[in-house]
Amino acid sequence: MKLRYSKKTTTLFFLAPALLLVFFFYLLPVVLTIWISFTNLYNWRIDLAFQFIGLENYRNLIHFIMNDPDVSKVAKTTIAFTAMTLVVNVLGGLILAILTFLLEEKISLTFRLLWLLPRMTPIAVFGLLWYYFFYGSEHGTFNSILLKLGLIEEPISWGTEPSLQPWASWLIIVYVNGLVGVSFGMIIFYSVFKSIPRELLIAAQVDGASTLHIVRHILIPMARWHLVFVTVWQLLSLLTTYPHLFVLVEWGVVDKDYGTTWALYVFLTAFSRTVNYQALAAAAAVFLVIIGIILGLVILRIMRFEEMIQPVRGDL
């Protein structure tokens, strides 16, 4: 049959708006980030974006990691935070999915929604909850409970008390980010469990399998592949996102260095210091871009993406 418009025109019409934004806010910025990392751009003096200084920024960055105590704290924090939060998010997500899957649907839904809430809560509000929670007086939840139990005599500013660092800061950022991150694994694993035929599970129970058996021999093996997927996905987002860390650090809930990961360091170096050194920040961001691309490709492999691309219905 004859169509009024060619396939090319039609396709372009539908895709153009999205492609335009993808170009301007993903592809071009990747190139620009690399560009800026070779220049001397600071304090947004645009003229300096054309002044190339070669690998100087990268050299400085490595020098800072080795010698600048603040930056080496950031490097340590990145590793500690990513490792711990990754475990919390993946295992926590798995446990939440298993527990909610075992319960009756209505109760299960309530808990799944509840654990999704932190992800949907405005960042400023979620940060505020933990600002108050760890508040350094008997008005804050954490201190008031410890005081009540007699474990401490005086309220403590947990995130900033020097003798407690780095661990107090690390545990706070891991906890707060874990609450946000854990729902991703929960949702993925839950949908895997939901895809298991109900009869199979009931049959196993009738044959005498205990709840623990079902968890160990059916649920966890079923989620094996997705466990890898969630781990890589979370690894990528933990290394590269920072909004919650930003408020915790800027509001003084945690120590400014032991609460800062590499991604937040990039942001603060570019936007939030007295002298903002964008070129250095861009060099630091290039590492994130590389990590992002590598792990993204790994994710595509894990998803066995080729098999997911099915021919379209309705092609003319």
Partner: protein
């Protein structure tokens, strides 16, 4: 609530309907429930404490209240009056405060609009048209979905100021020739910031949104469009008249998701928007310099107001949210 409680009781007694029986019953169900409640307690109580504090004259983030508390709605009144602490006078006018809320709304609605305009047609194309590079585009979208755009914000800000100067020179030139008044010139400045923050923030949502919309279009039987096209409609008309009405629930879900994304944002409005939103207002109250004079219960009142739409949408769209939050990945 009553029905949940009675269901819990029934579940504990092992009395659920046979057909839809939960896997864990009796004592095991009770233990699981206890574990879940215990794990959720800090989160749930902190939300409750926030609301409680917004009605108190001091921070009440504890069940053990061993200090004097006056219960009051003053925090909300003072917030809207712009009197941000009992000691300080007028910090903002009521108009300012209302504008913070309006600004937040503009960003959220703008993000919604941009996400819809871009993702709905793109999702359709990927679902229905076998164009060259379709597989590659799908791969790219997954890659971009996994790749957090926040890491690119330096370059995006560079584009923001780089595009700004020629644009403004053009406008200033027009103003100097008397073609524009200075007031119009000033509002261009504001409009540019809003436009940019909206488009930049929407872009973060686009890979996931396209993917989500593709999923909704995949579920629409192809015969509907086919019938329209056989009748002589163009692909565009078929899309508009035959397919779009069938994916309305999907579009609604996407709109809500995009709205919440724009509503919750802090980083982008902090970087790109000189005008304050509720997020940057709270941030300003708590960061560095102003902390000495900040009256925290009023901040709690602002945060409670800020949280309201999120909770509202949350309750309305429960299941859709759970589906959408996984980014459209099924199993």
């Amino acid at each position: 609530m009553a029905s949940i409680a009675s269901r819990i009781l029934r579940a504990l007694r092992g009395e659920s309907d046979r057909a839809d029986q939960p896997l864990a019953r009796g004592r095991i169900a009770a233990i699981i429930l206890a574990v879940l409640i215990l794990a959720s307690l800090p989160v749930v109580s902190s939300y409750i404490f926030l609301v409680v504090t917004s009605f108190a004259n001091t921070i009440v983030f504890t069940p053990f209240i061993e200090f004097a508390v006056n219960w009051t709605v003053d925090n909300y009144v003072k917030f809207f009056q712009g009197k941000l602490s009992p000691a300080a006078g007028q910090v903002y006018s009521t108009t300012d405060i209302v504008m913070f809320i309006v600004n937040t709304l503009i960003v959220a609605l703008g993000v919604t609009l941009v996400v819809l305009i871009t993702s709905v047609p793109a999702g359709y194309a990927i679902s229905r048209i076998g164009f060259r590079g379709r597989g590659a585009l799908m791969k790219l979208l997954i890659l971009l979905h996994a790749f957090p755009g926040v890491a690119l914000i330096i370059a995006v800000y560079f584009i923001y100021i780089y595009m700004r100067s020629p644009l403004f020179q053009a406008f200033e030139y027009m103003a100097s020739k008397g073609l524009l008044t200075d007031e119009v010139l000033a509002s261009f400045d504001i409009a540019y910031s809003f436009f940019f923050v909206i488009v930049a923030r929407a872009s973060l949502e686009i890979p996931m949104s396209i993917w989500l919309m593709k999923g909704f279009f995949d579920k629409v039987p192809w015969e509907f469009e086919w019938a329209a096209i056989v009748d002589g409609a163009s692909r565009f008309t078929a899309f508009r008249k035959a397919v779009l009405p069938l994916v309305k629930p999907g579009i609604a879900a996407l709109a809500i998701f995009a709205f919440l994304a724009g509503w919750e944002d802090l980083i982008y409005v902090f970087v790109f928007l000189p005008q304050m939103t509720l997020a940057t207002f709270i941030h300003n109250q708590l960061s560095g310099g102003s902390l000495e004079t900040t009256y925290l219960p009023i901040v709690a009142a602002a945060a409670t107001l800020y949280l309201l739409p999120t909770i509202l949408f949350f309750v309305i769209t429960q299941r859709l949210l759970l589906e959408a939050a996984s980014g459209g990945f099924k199993g």
